[in-house]
């Protein structure tokens, strides 16, 4: 049944997922890699949140953290994750297994390369379904798989094929079908449309939005394609070196990005309208085992100030629904005075 706008607004104000101070480290012989350095965000009911940022900034690790799928040498060091009122990080493993996939599903990055090469596509999906719901009638399962295929735009012939017989895009769609197979409340899709061509990507994106509406799913989309983000998500969270540096509605991020890293990200989007020189910012980041004191973006920031080298800027809500972690701004969102001077010089 269709929601009234008022009902939708109300639903959109309810938090389905709350992430607080999530920290995930990877142990290495030379010290811990701080992959996720304490992040906080909320996901609202029915919302699509885009998680973007530098390669290696910890997006996938954050997803693993939320699903408690961090593998050694990684470990969750700190944090709370609440899904529909249930605290997940400290929940027993057996209780958590009930929630994973049925309430909280991940379509992992590169999932298409981890499909079992010796198993036909339909078996991989039905195995996943039966693992959670128990044995089922063959005919029902077949209908369900074919329905999932229709949802993600896969031709029927894929049913009996092996993964190596599919193109990258088709494998990716098989993984999306597996992710939504159990109708979860929250889906985290890690680079799920990255390997798809634009036409199929668009169809799959539309499908995801439609499935999202139909099933009332809330979604976190991890990705690099800012064009797709512009089309698909409601809000964007920008990650850099394990931290969230800016969280805002998608229009705000595109029109008035405030964090210097978000500004770089927006400026360097390639355009189909003009051929322009590539915008490169110094690609050097700090050693992830040994972040410098102060702001994590200081080594690449064109506006770096004295203070940025000693104090880490917290994520602050500077304008309504617009959080930024940067010393350039006062609490009311205006630029601080020295900032304008230094940036101009």
């Amino acid at each position: 049944m269709a929601e009234t706008p008022a009902e939708q607004v109300k639903r959109r104000q309810r938090k389905v997922l709350e992430v607080r101070n999530l920290r995930v480290h990877y142990e290495t012989p030379t010290g811990d890699v701080i992959a996720v350095a304490g992040i906080d965000f909320d996901l609202y009911d029915g919302e699509t949140l885009g998680l973007v940022g530098e390669s290696g900034s910890g997006k996938s690790t954050a997803a693993y953290g939320i699903l408690k799928l961090v593998q050694p040498p990684g470990r969750i060091v700190d944090g709370d994750v609440t899904l529909d009122g249930d605290e997940l990080v400290h929940m027993s493993d057996s209780n958590f297994r009930q929630i994973r996939w049925t309430k909280l599903a991940l379509i992992p990055q590169g999932a298409m390369n981890s499909l079992n090469p010796t198993m036909r596509v339909h078996r991989q999906i039905t195995d996943a379904i039966e693992a959670h719901e128990g044995k089922q009638d063959k005919e029902t399962l077949r209908e369900r798989v074919l329905e999932l295929f229709r949802m993600v735009g896969l031709p029927q012939r894929v049913y009996n094929m092996f993964p190596h017989e599919l193109s990258g895009g088709m494998k990716q769609r098989v993984c999306i079908a597996m992710g939504i197979a159990l109708h979860p409340t929250v889906v985290i899709a890690d680079e799920s449309t990255s390997a798809l061509d634009v036409v199929v990507q668009r169809v799959v994106a539309q499908t995801m939005l439609r499935v999202k509406q139909a099933l009332g799913v809330s979604m976190i989309m991890i990705g690099h394609d800012m064009g797709l983000m512009a089309q698909m998500v409601d809000r964007i969270a920008v990650m850099y070196a394990g931290k969230l540096v800016e969280v805002a509605p998608v229009e705000t991020i595109f029109d008035e990005p405030m964090h210097p890293y978000s500004q770089v990200l927006i400026e360097s989007i390639p355009s189909l309208k003009e051929r322009k020189p590539l915008k490169i910012t110094e690609g050097i980041t700090h050693d992830p085992r040994n972040p410098p004191p102060g702001c994590i973006f200081q080594l690449r920031c064109p506006y770096v100030m004295e203070r940025c080298r000693s104090d880490a800027p917290p994520l602050r809500e500077l304008l309504a629904r617009h959080e930024v972690a940067c010393h350039l701004y006062n609490d009311d969102g205006s630029l601080i005075e020295d900032a304008t001077m230094e940036a101009a010089s």
């Binding site: 390669s55 029927q156 009996n160 094929m161 990507q201 668009r202 169809v203 989007i269 355009s271 690609g283």
Partner: protein, 336 residues
């Protein structure tokens, strides 16, 4: 005139798939009668774009010699890949290098990243001393925005997808081949690093004279760096020309759909129409003869079912489209 660096002549690749429920044993024509020439000079970046399953990776695999052609030829400086002896093949493999869609599979998980570099340096005898080797590796890493101290002692799984991709670029930089086949080299990195990798490609082209087969589904990066573009549809070329010609003025109905589907990086220009993929049955019924885009084409004509349309010249300047809409024009158009 010296023969081109690389010439692909009428390449066809047919795969046979396993049968079963809903799918009788079937042949998939992944590449059909495909031709491409990469001239020695100037070095160029040729983009191969097209939808998922259109045969891009197949093309990469046949060029790299990973899988044999069903028919057709691949010529390197005029010599057929199929007739090369071992020494010539080694020479070919050194000079035609790959950077992959997902480089993870390329790494051995039990060796540190430095092993990748040590292996190629030894294999191709690129350095005379340890210190020369170290300097070479550092230089190559810097080209792609990395530092040896950060990555060399790590294991592949300890790097992010984007870092692994940049390592592959650094590796081919060391080898300095004549042609690099790059299959989706930037599909996993964010915009600013994407710029760094594309810049590295431009640098290799302009300073070392390396030509690229840049395989991507991302038309916007192709638009920024590509010289020529080849758009594949179900194994054959739908349209070809300079990148600017094809993207600014797409002629083939499929390419028009493709360009239109690129998401605008602007939340105020949201998609307002839904596009649909045609039903598989419809697709299959019509693909045996005629234009393969027929089932999806908004401008189809009866003529289109007769035979596969050849490439028609659009403007006498190398812009060609495989579509009967241009049949008459092409015949009438005087060569300038």
């Amino acid at each position: 005139m010296a023969p081109p660096v690389l010439e692909i002549r009428n390449a066809t690749k047919v795969y046979r798939t396993s049968g079963g429920f809903l799918s009788p044993k079937k042949e998939v024509v992944a590449l059909q009668d495909y031709s491409l020439t990469i001239d020695r000079e100037p070095a160029s970046i040729t983009t191969i774009a097209g939808e998922s399953g259109s045969g891009k990776t197949t093309l990469a695999n046949v060029v790299l010699g990973f899988t044999p052609l069903t028919s057709g030829q691949i010529l390197f400086h005029g010599q057929d890949l199929a007739t090369m002896n071992r020494r010539q093949l080694l020479h070919y493999r050194r000079n035609v290098q790959a950077v992959f869609q997902d480089p993870f599979g390329v790494y051995n998980p039990f060796y540190r990243i430095e092993h990748v570099f040590h292996t190629v340096i030894r294999h191709f005898k690129l350095a005379d001393s340890e210190s020369q080797m170290r300097d070479m590796i550092e230089e190559a890493l810097n080209v792609v925005g990395l530092h040896g101290v950060d990555v060399l002692r790590k294991y592949p799984h300890q790097l992010s997808g984007g870092q692994r991709q940049r390592i592959m670029m650094a590796r081919v930089y060391l080898i300095k081949p004549e042609v690099i086949v790059a299959d989706e080299p930037v599909s996993m990195v964010d915009a600013s690093l994407r710029a760094a990798i594309l810049e590295a490609m431009l640098g290799l082209r302009d300073e070392l004279g390396v030509s690229f087969l840049y395989i991507t589904h991302d038309l916007s990066t192709a638009y920024q760096v590509g010289d020529r573009i080849n758009i594949l549809y179900q194994g054959s070329v739908a349209e070809t020309g300079t990148t600017v010609q094809v993207i600014d003025q797409p002629q083939h109905p499929y390419v028009q759909l493709l360009v239109e589907s690129v998401p605008a990086p602007d939340p105020s220009e949201k998609w307002d129409t839904e596009i649909e993929l045609p039903d598989e049955e419809v697709l299959r019924s019509a693909t045996s003869t005629g234009c393969r885009f027929y089932p999806r084409c908004p401008q189809r004509m009866d003529r289109c079912l007769e035979a596969l349309p050849p490439l028609y010249d659009i403007d006498g300047r190398g812009h060609e489209a495989a579509c009967y809409l241009y049949e008459d024009e092409a015949q009438m158009a005087p060569a300038p």
